[in-house]
């Protein structure tokens, strides 16, 4: 498959060829965000930018009864009622105090995820994402990836697991 792509490239103009090459490398945009962990280094997560709708820093939470504690409530996002999940609580850590809200959209479900900080957006070759060590049972993580500029390692957030109901 990769071979045939390379062969084709010979007959294309440079721009298209580059695009093809990028496709072959399977570059994807990822947003890196941080979760503070008391007495330990920050956890670095990456999420495929396709799922990120926007980042919001000002919101008013309305408490919704009968929900799990990690769901802080709902807020009014320009007329659309969106639930807010505290990611620290979801990981059984202490509640987030002053965070940012990542609005994610997965399978037509909209969810605001409260995180401590957002780092930046980077291009990641999905082929460089490696599996989570089989021995450790990770939650909400589908893979590990070294950040290209070698500034650290990020855990790839699995929307499927995050949106799943337990």
């Amino acid at each position: 498959m990769a071979n045939s792509v390379d062969n084709d490239i010979m007959f294309l103009d440079p721009e298209t060829a580059a695009a093809r090459k990028a496709a072959a490398a399977n570059l994807q945009k990822y947003l890196i965000f941080m979760i503070h962990d008391e007495g330990a280094a920050d956890l670095k997560f990456g999420i495929n930018a396709d799922y990120v709708v926007e980042i919001i820093n000002s919101y008013t939470v309305t408490y919704l009864p009968m929900m799990p504690s990690y769901l802080r409530g709902v807020f009014n996002m320009r007329g659309q009622i969106t639930p807010i999940m505290d990611f620290r609580l979801r990981l059984d850590k202490v509640p987030t105090t002053d965070g940012l809200l990542l609005i994610l959209n997965y399978n037509d479900m909209q969810l605001g995820v409260l995180v401590d900080a957002v780092d930046r957006m980077i291009d990641i070759d999905e082929n460089t994402i490696t599996a989570v060590p089989a021995q450790s049972s990770q939650r909400f993580v589908s893979g590990m990836c070294t950040i290209p500029d070698l500034s650290g390692t990020m855990m790839v957030l699995s929307c499927e697991q995050l949106f799943a109901h337990e």
């Binding site: 008013t60 309305t62 408490y63 919704l64 009864p65 009968m66 929900m67 799990p68 769901l71 709902v74 807020f75 009014n76 007329g79 009622i81 969106t82 639930p83 037509d108 479900m109 909209q110 969810l111 949106f163 109901h165």
Partner: protein, 694 residues
Amino acid sequence: MSSNNEILDTYLFENNSLLEQLESIVLDAEGSSAFSEDNINEIFRIMHTIKGSSAMMEFDSLAAIAHRIEDMFYLIREGSMAVVSEPNRPALFEIMFQSIDYFRKEMGKIEAGQPLDKNIDQFLQNINSLIAKIKGEEPAAAPAADNAASASACGYVGDPDFPYGLVVFYDEGCGMENLRAFMLLTSIRDFCGESDVRFLPEGIENDPSTADAVIDHGFFLMFKNKEDREKAIPVIRSAGSVKSYEPQDCKLPAKEEVEIPVVVEETVAAAPVAAASAAPAAAASAANAQANTTASAAHQKESLISVHQSKLDQLSALVGEIVITEAMVTGSPDLKGLTHLDNFAKSARQLRKLTDELQDVSMSLRMVPIATCFQKMNRIVRDMSKKLGKRAKLTIIGDETEVDKTIVDNIGDPIMHMIRNSMDHGIEVNEEDRIAAGKNPVGEIILSAQDTGSEVIITIKDDGRGINDDAVLKKAIRNGIAYPDIEYSHKEILNFLLMPGFSTSENVTEFSGRGVGMDVVKRSVEELGGSVTITSEQGKGMTTTMKIPLTMAIMDGMEVSVGETIFTIPLQNIRQNFKVSNSDILHDTVNGEIIKVMNNYYPVVRAKSIYSLPGGVDDVEDGILMWLDAGDTSYCLLVDELIGEQQIVVKPLPAYVKNFDIKRHGIMGCSILGDGSISVILDVENLASAVFAK
């Protein structure tokens, strides 16, 4: 790809509505065992459209069948209903019903993206053999058909009900032939009942293309009575630009000798004279035409436009936003303390009025008559009465009632279920039993809809044998829903019917009694925000009543606060609000609280504790009690304070939250308040069942 889907959507939508139309025509016609001229033309047109669009979409099997049916109706159209002899008629209707079912089934497959049934040979064979039968008698009917065709030189086949024809030709190049014809028609209708005259081509008043047909074939009028035609002739004479006219008597095919039409052709020379003298008359009739167009609304085609439902949803959502924003602007905290706002207040009032109107209009767009759903039931009753050998008729009342589109889409199955149930279990098997009970031997099911302003009430009533309480109770005990040593009231026993897994029929039949009983009905109606009740009198029949709110998008609610949280409680559920002192509260044996209101005792529910809210009053004397009422439950809810009454736009719970099933805990949805904050809408009935089920 998306444009392709759009074409497919349109195809499915159009064909489904055509099939609905076809079904009602065939059902109507079956009653009289004959298709009228209009029906035949209509069926021909429907089949032609289905054939064309199916061929375009490359659904060849559908096109092939539509083509054969079209062929069959071509024969019938040419020779009128007489070509189908009496013994063949039931087969013709049967084939029509089969083909409607076939098309429906295939449409369903197309919608679901499944491959079509390629094996249509047997079905085609059936149609072909019927065509052969019809053709087999053609020699007898053919001459009549030919005569009919030649009798009406204009090419129209006469209608046996309107035997007295009249063809009018206009001066060449006089223009606007169709409108002239329409004016003429209007003045004829002045003295002749609207149902006593028919005309061709149709649509003359608003379809300019019919002018060509009028030029080529003349304007064809058909009268029921000879006298009317005699009266019409002077009117035609006095109308402008008439070149000639000729009476034509339609022959009932194969019955009478063909009469050679008497052609009375006025000379062209006479026409200008007539035209000149008729000028004022024409002007007068033009004015009449104006007045009559509004009166003869039935004749006008409604100018309809089909819009995708998602666009309407979008519009409703936007209007909802506008309503909220309007409240935000006019109630802005920046305005507090400002005086001299006269002009602002005036504009704000105007804005309020306009947004209210906008809201009403956008809501009305989603309202459709429930008739589409009701008409389908005719077919169910017909099929079941054939299959079960019980004679029954369906009476429909109030099918013009308009309800939200979502309701029409979802209420069909519950209604169908209840009608099947009535046919299967309700109506007696032996007509002797009915006669002995002093009832009409033919069973009757009455399906009615009524709009009360806030909700629509749909009742399904049969005059069958009713519900046998003892049998129901026995069965309930056997299924473990009821306990043998407890006495149940009639109402409670009827409620067992609506419980899951209950079906009174001993044997599973094709139509009902699969064990998935009326609980399905109850659930689907509740999903629409409605409720179901059953009443029955043994030997007299049973009635199912479904109450469904007209629209679920907007409602009047009372805003209340509990700590920081704001709840909205539907106004229709609130009976009374009152302050009480601690001494009014009684305690029961299970740590519950009870209060006496108007000589009745009701449980007290504290909103704070059931929802484990962080804030809120603990002392009853600091809060306020709301006496709530829903379905058959009634209780008092303790809240902090009442904020005020408001019309709110109901927003469904976010998709992610829905999965937690908080609906069961009485949370129906959310609403955005004027200041942009969110209130939680409570479902009084579900809240009660969540609290008292424990």
